[in-house]
Structure formats: C-alpha cells, structure tokens
C-alpha cells in the first residue's frame, strides 16, 4: 500500500503548496522597486530552473544506475525525469523570455545561463526523440541512458564555453539573485519547495505509468506465446 499512499500524498501536498506559493508571490512578497510587477515571474522562473536542472541530474544518475544494474525501474526513472526536465526547461525558456523582453528589451540574449538552458533543452529533447525511435525495450533503455549521461557531461562544458564566447555578461541576472529582502526570500523558498513537491509528484506518477506500461507489454507477450 505504501506506493499508492505516496502516489496520493505528493499530489495532495502539491495542491496545497502551489496555491500557497502563488498567493505569497502576489500578496506577501513586496513589489520590486525598479522592475515592478514583472519581477513576480522571478519566483517561478528560478524554481522552474532549479527543478529542471535537478531532473536532468536525476536523469544522469538513473542512466548510470541502469547501465550498472539493468533494472527496469531505473529506465522508468530515466524516462520520467527526461520528460519532466524537458517540460520544465521549456517553461524556463518561455518565462525567461517574457521577463527579459521588458527588462532587457530583448526576447533572447546569449548569456551563459540562457545558452546552457537552451542547449540542455536541445540535448534532452533529442533524447525524447531517440526514445520514440526505438521499439525494443532494453535497447531503448541502454541508448537513452548513454545519451542522458553524455548530455549531462556536456552541461559544464556548455556553461564554460558560453562564458568564453560571449564575454559581456548582463549583470541583471546576478543582481536579482543577491541581496533579496527577507520576505522575498521566504516567498522564493516557498515557491521552490512547492515546485519541487509538484515535480516529485509528477515524477512519481510517470514512473508508475512507465512501469505499468512495461508490465502490460509483458502480459501481452505472454498471452501471445
């Protein structure tokens, strides 16, 4: 019964925390002086980005574990974390663009962080395409594990080289990070926790779905034999 309980507990917690975070963002956190109301996007943007990077890290770890242990559960975790990571990174890029347009006066700039997020999105989205191209289960899992590991290895290199090929950093990002007022910080922490719980719930549900899918396929094969 424990997995079932967890499957209902995490979404329930998320339905409490996410509205709480939204409420705090709009009614508790003070209005930022220079950016005004648009700065509210920051709480979501940062928690999305944090959760996205975390899920790519989980994808890499699951990939390594799958190659070592060859257990189905790690493939399910790998698939779930890549899917969630791609969705979250998409949202990060969109919310960043929406924020950047009024503040930096551009939808897009080749800042190291933006570049890293975009290339990460490409790498892991290509992993999803790879998944859809292979039918055979063990082969699909192995190939995706290899891609997840090598994709994650690429992240620090992308960040480093993006810093080298563009030497002018917009300092706006940095100034938003440092020197937050305490009520802003509390809001940020709450919205990050809410996002993490929400993603954990999604991750858990997707894992169960993937496992059920492979169980169904096994049963199908047994029936055909």
């Amino acid at each position: 019964m424990t997995p079932l309980n967890r499957a209902t507990f995490l979404p329930a917690l998320a339905t409490l925390l996410v509205p709480l975070a939204i409420g705090m963002i709009f009614f508790y956190a003070p209005l930022e002086k220079s950016m005004g109301i648009i700065q509210k996007i920051f709480y979501f943007h940062l928690s999305l980005a944090g959760a996205a990077f975390l899920s790519f890290f989980i994808a890499c770890v699951s990939g390594i574990m799958y190659l070592l242990k060859r257990q189905r559960i790690w493939d399910a975790r790998l698939a779930a974390s890549i899917e969630i990571g791609v969705v979250l990174t998409t949202l990060v890029l969109i919310s960043g663009s929406l924020w950047g347009r009024p503040i930096w006066n551009t939808w897009w700039t080749w800042d190291p962080r933006l570049t890293t997020s975009l290339i990460l999105w490409f790498i892991f989205a290509s992993g999803l395409i790879l998944r859809s191209a292979i039918d055979e289960e063990s082969k699909r899992a192995t190939f995706c594990a290899v891609m997840a590991i090598i994709g994650f290895v690429d992240v620090p290199i992308v960040f480093l080289s993006a810093r080298l090929w563009r030497s002018i950093h917009p300092t706006v990002i940095r100034s938003a990070g440092i020197g937050l007022e305490s009520s802003m910080l509390v809001t940020l922490v709450v919205s990050m926790v809410a996002m993490l719980v929400f993603c954990a719930a999604l991750f858990h549900l997707r894992c169960i779905q993937h496992q059920q899918e492979s169980t169904v396929r096994d049963l199908q094969q047994q029936l055909q034999l």
Binding site: L67, I119, F122, I123, S126, I129, L130, A133, I134, D135, E136, S138, K139, T142, F143, A145, V146, M147, I149, I150, G151, V153, D154, I157, V158, L160, S161, A162, L164, W165
Partner: protein, 226 residues
C-alpha cells in the same frame, strides 16, 4: 602493443574500403563544397564577408559534410551483420571505438583538404591570414567531433531512423566545441595573435579529452546487440 596493432588493423580495413569505394569521401567533399557555394550566394554575390561570418560559414560546411561520412561508418557495418562479427572477434569494444574514431578523424581531415581551399577561393580573397593557422583548430575540432560522433552514430545506427537521428543527437552535444572553433577561426582569419586563440583552444582540448574518455567508457553499451 597488440591492441595498437588491432586498432591499426581496423583502421586500415575501413580506410581500404573507403579508398576502393570512395563513397563517403566524395560525398563529404562534394556536399561541403556545395554548402560553401550556397552560402556564398546567400551572403550576397560580390560582397565580402568579415572574419566572424567567414569562420561561421566554414564551420557550417565542415560540420554538415562530416555528418554524412559519420553516418556511413556504422551503417556499413550494420548492413551485413558485421557488428556482430566485430564483437565476437578478440577486439575489445574500446578498441573498436578508437579505430572508428580514427576513421572519422581521417575522413574529416581528407575532406577538409578540399573544403578549406574551396573556402579560401570563394571567400578568402581579402583574408591575408596564413591557412596553417587553422590547422590546430581543425585538428582539435576533428578530434572532438569524431569521438563524440562515433559514440552517437553507434546509437543512431541501432535505430530505425539513422540518418535523421544522427544530426539531431549530435549537434546539440558538439555545439560548444563548434562555437569555440568558430571564435578561434575568426581570430585566425583576422590575424590576431596566437596567444589570444589559446583561450578557445584550451577548452576545446578539454572537450576532446572529456568526450574521448566518455565515449571510450560508454561505447561498449552503445554497440552491444542484446
């Protein structure tokens, strides 16, 4: 010593096939030259491009043409079930990886012997840079591209959509390497001092080392046929 002999043996085998059929090399050089011509027209006939744009154009042609050769190296082995034969031979997967990466490296280098002169003819009339200044950049990019590409092409050759998947999987991974190469090449074309280019060449070398190691470790998983 014996593993070095095995690697050289595999490399010799692939290069001999290439020498007799010439399928990869001719299509790589032809396609690359075609891209250079297209980009020359796209940039505007009679207009001179600056060093930054020129470097980008050169690398677009090289990267796109190299993918053609990369796809063939494994597709050829798959066709007659040669991968299984390679795997039961007393050659370790790591050695197969090194041999295949060397094949790709040499194919890229040979096609660049055509592409770089074509680039100079079409775009370079006002670049008075020494073409030899490009050599370290070419060698490093070829190394990084061929190691990463060998691993990815082993994966994509195992799927149903080899030709489509290879660039989709490979290009995001080598994007940082290409961007550094473009910047270094722009520096070389604008005859900036070599010490300035080291800033890009060193991370390129790091990329090559990291992906050679990652490719060597992960290749056995990518090639094994369960």
């Amino acid at each position: 010593m014996s593993s070095l002999r095995q690697i050289l043996f595999l490399l010799g085998k692939d290069l001999r096939i290439e020498l007799r059929k010439k399928e990869s090399l001719i299509s790589m050089a032809f396609f690359g030259a075609l891209i250079l011509v297209i980009l020359n027209i796209a940039a505007g006939i009679g207009k001179q491009v600056d060093a930054d744009t020129g470097a980008g154009i050169l690398w677009v042609a090289i990267i796109f043409s190299a993918v053609l050769g990369l796809g063939r190296v494994f597709a050829r082995e798959k066709e007659n079930g040669c991968v299984a034969a390679l795997l039961i031979s007393p050659i370790s997967p790591g050695e197969i990886f090194i041999a295949k990466a060397l094949v790709n490296f040499s194919l890229m280098l040979l096609s660049q012997l055509v592409l770089v002169p074509v680039f100079y003819v079409l775009f370079g009339s006002h670049f008075n840079a020494d073409p030899l200044a490009l050599v370290p950049i070419l060698l490093l990019l070829n190394l990084g591209f061929s190691t990463t590409g060998t691993l990815v092409s082993a994966i994509s050759a195992g799927t149903r959509r080899n030709e489509v998947l290879l660039p989709i999987l490979l290009f995001p991974l080598i994007l940082p390497l290409t961007a550094l190469a473009v910047k270094a090449t722009a520096g070389a074309l604008a005859t900036r001092p070599f010490s300035e280019r080291l800033e890009q060449l060193e991370p390129m070398l790091a990329f090559c080392l990291i992906f050679s190691a990652a490719g060597y470790l992960l290749f056995p998983f990518a090639i094994r046929e369960d």
